[in-house]
């Protein structure tokens, strides 16, 4: 009995030591769901760049999940150096509830702290059997729509707002009819996953639903990973300009002494490397001149409404109005049976 126990004790010792004795700098980037592939490549590139610049080694660790859920874990104490979330409101929540990020964080980096943007498109099954061309087709009889839950997912909030923007245009701002349309849309949703990637897997791998409301980059990725023989992208007449922002979590970085490298990491997102890598991963780069024109040519032209449009009045207004407790989404959403 003593011998195995001793082995066990040594094993535990080794395991504990090896997790704590990493001499190199480690950054933690807490991100939302669909950025996995982009940051995997970006982190490797940044580590190399940082090593060339300073001779130091840096490892960037990732945590992915629904944007709202990720913000929640940072608020609860996950010590992220950097947050790269799906929407401003989630970083605002961290800033206001913990004070770990200053309130004016958006002004600290170029392009309102959004190094890449994206939009919402439709992914349908090959041949588009339900003939889906625009937002109004989503509420036709027998069409099942897949989107994550706007309460937990940033992408889902953009989906919701894009649908709202369409309805606003279609019904010339008649709020009653807009609500009716968005409510009907969610009546067509059989499963509400917590994050964008969960929804994509539900639609693409498990074969549920007729149309997926997806981040443009997520839709392209599904085409690449599962195959263009199975799906096609449908570009609606109007959509929303989604600006997923990034921020330094000052208090955490200062505590760990990683501010310098964390700031360099964020600035590197705006470098030619970061921008072209974003375009390669189907994010629309903030500065297209730095990206490969061939990558840029893949992005379709869509009429894009921004969150700062008077229709929404910015995140500070849109977040509580639509997604807060008892907000419009709560009022119109009835789970489908």
């Amino acid at each position: 009995m003593t011998l195995p126990l001793r082995h066990l004790a040594t094993g535990i010792g080794i395991a504990l030591l090896s997790t704590s004795a990493l001499a190199e700098t480690t950054l933690l980037n807490v991100s939302y769901d669909p950025t996995r592939e982009f940051y995997k490549a970006f982190n490797a590139g940044f580590a190399e760049h940082w090593n060339e610049e300073t001779g130091e080694r840096v490892t960037v660790r990732m945590s992915h999940g629904g944007s709202g859920k990720q913000a929640r874990t940072v608020i609860d104490g996950l010590d992220a150096d950097i947050v790269t979330l799906a929407l401003e409101a989630d970083i605002d929540a961290i800033a206001s509830q913990t004070g770990k990020i200053p309130a004016d964080w958006r002004q600290r980096l170029p392009h309102q702290s959004a190094p890449y943007t994206s939009t919402i498109v439709f992914l349908v099954r090959k041949g588009n059997p339900k003939g889906i061309a625009d937002w109004d087709d989503l509420v036709a009889d027998g069409v099942e729509v897949i989107t994550p839950n706007p309460k937990t997912s940033g992408g889902a909030r953009w989906n919701y707002l894009a649908a709202w923007a369409y309805a606003d245009k279609a019904f010339a701002g008649d709020e009653e009819k807009i609500r009716g349309y968005v409510s009907a849309l969610f009546q067509h949703v059989p499963v509400l996953d917590t994050g964008a990637r969960g929804s994509t897997i539900t639609f693409a791998q498990r074969g549920v639903g007729d149309v997926l409301l997806a981040w443009e980059n997520e839709a392209f990725l599904a085409l690449e990973e599962i195959g263009p023989d199975s799906f096609e992208i449908v570009v609606p007449s109007i959509s929303i300009l989604a600006e997923p922002p990034v921020a330094l979590v000052d208090a955490n970085a200062d505590k760990k002494g990683t501010r310098e490298v964390a700031e360099a990491y964020l600035h590197y997102l705006y470098s030619p490397f970061g921008q072209s890598l974003a375009a390669e991963n189907h994010y629309r780069p903030a500065d297209p001149s730095l990206a490969d024109p061939a990558d840029l040519a893949r992005f379709p032209d869509i009429e894009l409404v921004t969150i700062d449009d008077p229709l929404f009045g910015g995140w500070a207004k849109a977040q509580p109005t639509h997604f807060g407790e008892g907000g419009v989404f709560d009022q119109i959403y009835r789970p489908m049976n």
């Binding site: 395991a15 945590s63 609860d76 104490g77």
Partner: protein, 296 residues
């Protein structure tokens, strides 16, 4: 008179080891067995087989590559570490609790028994959230621990704690019925012959419950390594740092790395099968020594 007839009728029957307990026809029996078999096949074996089929869909080399990948290795190491702490902790707790409950009378005993069962009835997600409420930065102890630089939530200690919580009943639950059934007679005899308390425990109590103890440890370990919900809430999902094997499987699956996901999942499936085999062996060989196991 009557007993004679019965005796006669018994004598008339051919000596048979097995007699049907019901009067159903063999056809009904076969149909019932077939239903049970098909059901188990569909619900248990088919999905389990699918895991292995998917895991080996790219051949041995890809299978091994998926297991050797640094994040996968980190996940396995963390899973082993968590089990290596949680299982002994619950072993000690389980024996102590079972000893106290089975051998002593005290106020609040039934409350203690109920509390031990609590993790069985609480959803694992709630267990995880409860620990966030205690150890999160806005929790009861979180800010205080933070001041000393001790991290519990979203770090290994938190994962270990919730694992201990969800696996707490396994050892105690196996031991309590057996120890209660055995009573305190042998221990009293040992004590009256002058053995110390520790000696009594080591040479009298422990040998009496060893198989039940092993059985409890086995189940405890299987759950400790396989727990998803509670760990998912408190882990923070940092790749290579706070992802256990079940969490790593989910991450890989969500990254379209289906083959790799199922390769790691197959390890958990193998663990489950091993546990099942050992459990069956213990039940078959030492059923008499495991009162608690009879009902399972």
């Amino acid at each position: 008179m009557r007993s004679e007839t019965i005796a006669a009728s018994v004598a008339e029957r051919p000596a048979k080891a097995w007699r049907p307990a019901t009067s159903e026809t063999p056809a009904t029996r076969r149909v019932l067995i077939a239903i049970a078999g098909i059901f188990l096949g569909l619900v248990l074996l088919l999905p389990l087989g699918a895991v292995f089929a998917q895991a080996f869909s790219g051949g041995w080399s890809l299978y091994l590559a998926a297991l050797a990948e640094p994040d996968a290795v980190a996940a396995m190491r963390l899973t082993l570490l968590v089990a290596a702490i949680a299982v002994p902790a619950n072993l000690v707790f389980g024996v102590a609790a079972a000893w106290a409950i089975a051998k002593f009378e005290f106020r609040g005993k039934s409350l203690l028994v109920t509390l031990i069962d609590l993790p069985f009835s609480v959803s694992p997600v709630i267990s995880g959230l409860a620990y966030i409420l205690v150890f999160g930065s806005h929790g009861l102890l979180g800010p205080w621990l933070d001041a000393y630089g001790i991290k519990v939530a979203f770090a290994v200690p938190g994962i270990v704690l919730v694992t201990i919580f969800v696996t707490l009943p396994f050892v105690a639950r196996e031991l309590i019925p057996l120890m209660e059934e055995q009573g305190a007679g042998e221990e009293e005899a040992a004590l009256s012959l002058g053995a110390s308390g520790w000696k009594t425990f080591l040479f009298v109590t422990l040998p009496n419950v060893k198989w039940a103890l092993l059985y409890g440890v086995l189940l405890c370990n299987a759950r400790a390594m396989g727990e998803f919900g509670a760990v998912s809430v408190i882990s923070g999902h940092i790749r290579g740092l706070t992802n256990t094997m079940p969490l790593h499987v989910e991450i890989l699956y969500n990254e379209y790395a289906f083959q790799a996901a199922f390769a790691v999942a197959s390890l958990l499936a193998i663990l489950a099968l091993l546990t099942l085999a050992l459990k069956t062996f213990l039940e078959w060989r030492f059923a008499g020594d495991m009162a608690g196991a009879r009902g399972h």
